[in-house]
Each structure stands twice: as structure tokens, then as C-alpha cells.
Symmetry: C2
Subunit: 477 residues, 2 copies
């Protein structure tokens, strides 16, 4: 077990990709199996996902959404009902062709997303304006047959939630689309401590079949983008393809307006790639499964045991999840392990400190140490966890802001793109040709037209024509 | 929406199968899609499953289990590693043969259960006695390619939990197997109000690859059995096939002992088929997503609104889930709908009762009415919900006991089996030939050798030889 020692983690500044892979393994978040392209999410990783699920699920329900469970298989003929959608997804689905020893009459794919299943269902259950809105959400796994995979970031099987809603008016559907975008943004800022940029995707980058796609874009430590959640406005696009209609109050047939939105376990990847360091995982306190680890120092001792019991009891009363490491490993080994696992606070309880009635608290994010009285340890933890949550966000924001650039023209854009990691903002004419040129020349994709500060202040940086908006470009995972 | 009226439900005594199908549809628990053999679990049905999950998940965790997530696909070569297991499952798995447009090098099945995935993982992570026990659980969907399907009872896709544990000793593994069996039994008795019979499966009926299978057998209103959860003891069977070994304290290699156990959404079917009636669903209070429905009577009225506000507020404080039906439907329609949905208590709030400061409480199970003061309504609900939970169990137990038979010889067995629904207990020699004879002659399968009262008190009812135990037979869903 010597390899738990954090010294074996590759430095994130030397090789970010290898550092990431070593973190997810050493912190015991995932493992591999002979099912290629999928991952085993280990208990510690899954506990983070459960925290994410519980928090978001409460918020969805508070906003009136209901959970539902659709089949995992989609018959080919159903997938084919919406043209843009099937063209977008058919190349990357897994096909089931046999049940037991018999070939199926019609092959079925494992859902890559469930728009068509929801549309088929909505056609059956929506008849009148009284049936609207329908606000459904589903927690499930989806499959997309990716060629190259990385834990949490890109895997063939993905754990996610997908919301699918139907509304009587365009305004209401748009309000839902943007309302959920705000839920995602707030959750990622306040729980995951990620300084995300929210905005609208270009036509080129939007979801297959959507009228508008809004996105939450996070920037990793290395300046590369991670699309961390999307909210789509479909208008009546799918509804018309599926013939969904309802009688309005005037007893006339209308087509309803639709949205869909989702976030995945990818968010766990973005936590790692934003906050963690060369010693291991660093977790924002609000999402950490275990917030405080208690480590006794020195030989078994009545005073130490008493202090541990007091602090543990106090933490339990305050509902701060905690764990005592009373294994027979050395304190140094336990410290290293606690650092790899990213427990936000470590409390060292030893005879020397206890002579003064004190214990030592260590913050995982800054490794700063402080001595506090035994009786005050739990309330200090509460304060410290809040401080850490805020400071982790502030540090991530500060770092991200050093990697946001503005380019007035294409020369400047090229210079930045080829020398500096991060996002580059430009004025843009709105033409896909300019977007494609950047992709072809430099490998950068448009991230989003941001919600804030998107008014153009000059001509298009690519073609020099009149600009319609400002837009971010960046490399992506 | 007139078909919500419960009069349209087929009588359960006339046609139990059609009655069941009409209940699951009318109570809005499930719907169908073009994905044959799968079901859509609608929000009300899914909310019951969420209650089941939350209750069991807490109990599993309290007992030290951790949640994990394995891939949903199993490569064919991995499935083939354990002979009995693959023979049991291969005929009923769904095969994925293509990823996008390309055929896979090796086809993969969608997991019908995950023993082989857990074994492969355990081989990697178990090295020493320090790594034991491993107590993992997974909430997921599995697929078994059933030919005939019925909502909740038998579907191609199944929502379930599967526990997989590894232990250093046989005793510890057996303790786990029986400990989880007890969790299942207690949950079904205390939460689902099901008077289950627990016991051991015969060799013929045990899980493919298990040394022992224990089962929780419920009897439906029509006397037919539903296997409502199983807990398996594997011994070292799988571990040897996968080469899993650990170093014990004496530094010698040993093979660990294994268990697995699971319950599914089928339990929702057993709630329906045990407690519901010709008016619709009847839900045990502890598992009901909405425990109290408030229905105003008469025209909008300040007194009525005030009483509703008081009661709703009191119920919320007591954390009793409740819903106000303030739609513009008639009270009669609302009553019928509340009965179809099986909300345990209905509170009718009308001007006439309020003249005496009272409202009317109606129990869903007996339809008994009682008048209570507005201020006491919420605390009366608490008492009534407890009473109903107990009485629903008592009634189900009483009914079940009228359908338990004992047959001394094969003639008596045949007479009962061909004239009366229910379970028939016999003395059994333990020979599979006798078990097969009953199956071939009469279509009854062995349910279990019960934990209680299994000592034989006469010769085998089939062959007349010395009996080894008593055993239940019955028809099954």
C-alpha cells in the first residue's frame, strides 16, 4: 500500500493528463474493468455523485419537477423519427441485436439521450392545456460509443440526469430553459466552487435537434474547457415531428414548447481538474462525503481517546460527516492518505497539544495549521469549512481570470491561441465560416456567447465584417 | 378523464389479472412505450420506488455497506468464466453487437446481474485479510429477455439493488446472507405490510452458481406466489473460478467467501396484489408518497380555506406528506380519484362539518369515516396512519393463513392443488424427482423450506420415503 503515498503522484505542472489519471486512481474514485470504455465508480467517487444527486434532486423537486423512469432501449424506428437528432446520435450508439439466442425483429439502441422516448410518451398524455406544463426528470445511465475515453470526462457509459419538459407557451419554455441553466450555474458555483461562464452555444455547437442550447462552461487548471451542463430550448421542433398537440383554453389545437437539460458525472472530473494539487484530491467542503478526518498521534492514551470522543460527538451533533482513522498505520502515512483523499479538514490529536487542552486543525486546500481548544474544535470546523468553500471559489476565479483573453484581430487571436492556454474572447460576425476557420486553423471550438458582456465593441476578429456579438473560444476536453 | 372513475376498474374477484393491469394504469403507476417488454414508471410509481430505495439504502449503509457503480455491459468472455452462471443467464440476455456503425470485436451483454463484474473487481482489490470484508451494493437496472411480461412482476428491464460481499470466513458470509434476508423480511413486513414467508430454496430453484439461496416469498390476494427478494450464499464457488485469494493473518493464501442479494421494483407489484381493491390502489402508509389528501367541499369559503391552511400547516410540521386537491372537479370525482390513487387518508373539509369545528377523515383501506376537530386532525392522522399500517398487515396475514394448506400424501396434495389457490406444505424427502413430479403433474414449483416449522412429521408426501424437511409448493407469477 506504499503507493498511496502522495509523492508518487505526478506533478500537475509537468504532465496534467497523467496527473489527472493518477489522482482518480490514488484517491480511489474509479477503477477499470474488462468492459472497455466504461469505468467502475468506486464507493468514494460514488458518494460524491450521491451528494450531487441529493442536492440537485431536492432543487428540481422544489421547482415542481417529478422523477420518472423511461426504458433504456430505443427501437431504431423511434430514434429515426427526428432527422437532425438521429444524424447527431446514430453514429455513436450501442446496438442491441439479439435477445438470448434469437435475433430481434427490430434492433434497438441503448439510449444516448431520451428525447424521443419522452416525446412518444408526451404524445399519449398531453391532450389539453390542463395537462401542461409537464416537468419530468430522470436519473439514469446513457451510452455513447466514444473512441477515446477518460474517467468522468468522456466514457461510453455516463451517469446523468435528463430533464424533459413541455409547456403551453414559448415564454414559459424559455423561462424553464434559463431557470435550469441558473440552477446548474448556482450549484456549480456554490457547491462545486467552480467559476463557470454561462452562455449560449452557436448553431454549430448546439444539441442535435435544439433551437437553442445554453451551456455552463468551466475552465480547468490547464486552461482547457469542460462543458459542464447544458439546457436546451427545442421550440416545437420535436413536438411537430411527433405530432404532439393540445387543446388550448379556446378549444383550438396548438403545439407545445419543449426543453431538455442535463448534467453528468463529468462534474466530478471538473472538481478534480480545478481544485486538486500534487498531494492529491482537494474537495469543496459542501460536496465532500467526509468533511473531517480525525487522526490520533502517539501511543494509545486515555487523554487522546477522551478528546477524540468529545470532538466526534460534537461533530456528529452538528451533522458534520467525519471519520476516525484508528488503523495501525503511522501518523505520517495517515496524513498522506488524508491528503490524497482530499478530506477538507484533518484534526491531529496528540498528547503534546493536549497538555494545553488543544488539538491541531489542518486545512486540506492550503495545508495551513491552527491550534484550537478541544471544546471549540467542532465549531471551528464549521467556520473553517465555510471559509474554505469561499476561498476555493475565489482562488479558482482568480486563476481563471488570468487565462481569459481578448483578441481584436486574427493575428492576435493566433498568437494567443498558440502560446497561451485559456479562453479567448472576440467580436464575431455570427458566420459559421469564421467559426470553422478557427477550428480548422487552430483546433479551438467556440465555447459560448456569454450571458454577460456579449455586446460587440468592434468588427469580427476573423473576417473584419460587422460583429453581432462577443464569443469565447477555447480548447476542450 | 372520466375513465379515472373507479367504477371502470375490473373486479379483482372476477378477473384478477385484468384487475391488476387496470390498477397499475388507472392509479398512474406505469405506462407503455414502443420499447416492448419494458415499462415507463410514471412519477407516482417512481415515488414509491424512491421511498423503497431511501429506506433500504439507509439500512444497508447502517450495516456498513457502501454503494458502487459497475459497468452495465459484460464482455461475453467474462460472462463465460463461471459455467453454471452462464448457463443460467446466457439464454435470456440482450446482446450488444455494434458500436455506432462498427461491429464489436467481442459482443457484450447488458448485465442480467453483476456477479462476474464484482468478482473481476474483487480479484484486483482483495489481497489481504485487511481488505475484508468488502460490503458493496449497487442500485441500477438489469435486463433479462423475458418472453411474456407484466408491469412490475416480470419485465425485460428491471430496477433493483444488488449487494455483493466478500468475507474472510464462511461463518461471516453466512451471517451476512441471513442478516440481509432479515432486512428484506423486516422491510416487507413493517413497511410494505406483507406477511412474507422466508426460507431456503431447493437446489433446483436456487440461483445459478449459488451454494444456497434464501428467499422472501409473498402470497398474493389470489393465492399465487411472488418471489420478493433473494439472498445467496456462494461459498468459494465464484471466487475459485475467478482466482480470488487473500493472505490471512498467518500469511497463508485463502479463498474468500461470497454473498449476493437483491430486491426489485417487483415489490411494488406485490403491494398492489396484496392490499388493493376494486376501487383502486391501497398503499401501506409508510410507503405512500402522499399520505393525506385534502379535499374542500362546497363553494369557496373563508372558513374552509382557514381550516385547510391550519391542517396543512399542522401536517407539514409533523412531516406528513400531503396534497390539497383544489382543482375545479366535483368532490365526488375527487373522492374517486383519491381512492384510485390510494392516498391512505382523505380529509373532507366542508361548511357543514365546520359548523361544529370538525372535518371528516376517511381511511382508504376500510373507507371508514370519522369526524374530528380541525385542531386535532393532524394528530389523528398520525394515529390513524399507524393503525392502518398495522391493520393492513393483520388483514393480509389473516387472509394468507386461510390459503396455507398441509397435505399428508400425494392424493391430498393433488386435490388441494387442483381446487384451491394458495401454498401447500408437505413433508419432503429432498429428492429432486419428487419436486419435478409436482411441477410436471400440477405446475407448482417449490417456494421454500421455511425457516420456521420445517422439521418433518411424517414421510415424503410424494414418494413415501423418509422425509428430510417440510417444504412449501405454490403457483408463481
Amino acid at each position: 500500500m506504499a503507493d498511496i503515498q502522495n509523492k508518487s503522484i505526478i506533478s500537475r505542472d509537468d504532465n496534467f493528463a497523467e496527473w489527472y489519471t493518477s489522482i482518480v486512481k490514488k484517491a480511489d474514485l474509479v477503477d477499470y474493468s474488462s468492459t472497455k470504455g466504461s469505468m467502475i465508480i468506486r464507493p468514494y467517487g460514488y458518494a460524491i455523485w450521491e451528494n450531487i444527486q441529493n442536492t440537485l434532486d431536492k432543487e428540481f423537486k422544489r421547482l415542481g419537477h417529478e422523477n420518472i423512469q423511461m426504458p433504456m432501449f430505443i427501437p431504431e424506428s423511434l430514434l429515426n423519427l427526428e432527422k437532425e437528432h438521429v444524424e447527431g446520435f446514430a453514429p455513436e450508439v450501442a446496438w442491441v441485436t439479439h435477445g438470448g439466442t434469437e435475433p430481434l425483429e427490430e434492433r434497438m439502441c441503448v439510449r444516448p439521450t431520451s428525447e424521443v422516448l419522452f416525446c412518444e410518451h408526451y404524445k399519449k398524455i398531453i391532450k389539453s392545456y390542463r395537462d401542461l406544463p409537464k416537468l419530468y426528470n430522470q436519473w439514469c445511465t446513457i451510452v455513447r460509443w466514444e473512441k477515446t475515453t477518460r474517467p468522468f470526462l468522456r466514457t461510453r457509459e455516463i451517469l446523468w440526469q435528463e430533464g424533459h419538459t413541455m409547456h403551453a407557451t414559448k415564454e414559459e419554455a424559455m423561462k424553464e430553459t434559463l431557470g435550469i441553466l441558473k440552477v446548474y450555474e448556482d450549484f456549480q458555483r456554490n457547491y462545486l466552487a467552480l467559476p463557470v461562464i454561462v452562455g449560449e452555444k452557436t448553431d454549430k455547437e448546439k444539441f442535435a435537434g435544439a433551437e437553442k442550447t445554453y451551456t455552463v462552461e468551466a475552465m480547468m487548471y490547464d486552461g482547457v474547457a469542460l462543458q459542464n451542463g447544458t439546457s436546451h430550448y427545442f421550440g416545437t421542433h420535436f413536438a411537430k415531428a411527433f405530432g404532439i398537440e393540445f387543446l388550448n383554453k379556446e378549444n383550438q389545437l396548438e403545439t407545445p414548447y419543449q426543453t431538455s437539460w442535463g448534467v453528468t458525472t463529468r462534474m466530478i472530473g471538473s472538481i478534480i481538474m480545478t481544485h486538486s494539487d500534487d498531494l492529491g484530491l482537494v474537495l469543496p467542503p459542501k460536496i465532500a462525503p467526509i468533511k473531517v478526518i480525525l487522526i490520533p498521534i502517539g501511543k494509545a492514551n486515555e487523554e487522546v481517546d477522551k478528546a477524540i470522543a468529545t470532538i466526534k460527538n460534537d461533530l456528529d451533533k452538528l451533522e458534520i460527516s467525519n471519520k476516525l482513522d484508528n488503523s495501525d498505520k503511522s501518523p505520517g502515512f495517515k496524513f498522506a492518505e488524508a491528503e490524497v483523499k482530499g478530506y477538507p479538514i484533518r484534526i491531529e490529536i496528540g498528547p503534546r497539544d493536549l497538555e494545553n487542552g488543544e488539538v491541531t486543525l489542518v486545512r486540506r486546500d492550503t495545508l495551513e495549521k491552527m491550534k484550537v481548544e478541544v471544546e471549540k474544535a467542532s465549531t471551528e470546523c464549521v467556520k473553517l469549512l465555510e471559509t474554505m468553500q469561499q476561498e476555493m471559489y475565489d482562488r479558482a476565479l482568480k486563476r481563471r481570470d488570468t487565462m481569459l483573453y481578448f483578441a481584436e484581430d486574427y493575428e492576435e487571436f493566433k498568437t494567443i491561441a498558440t502560446t497561451k492556454p485559456g479562453f479567448i474572447k472576440i467580436n464575431w460576425c455570427g458566420d459559421v465560416a469564421c467559426e470553422n476557420k478557427i477550428k480548422d486553423d487552430l483546433g479551438l471550438k467556440s465555447r459560448c456567447i456569454p450571458q454577460d458582456d456579449h455586446e460587440p465593441n468592434g468588427p469580427c476578429a476573423v473576417c473584419g465584417k460587422d460583429a453581432k456579438c462577443q464569443i469565447y473560444f477555447g480548447k476542450q476536453y
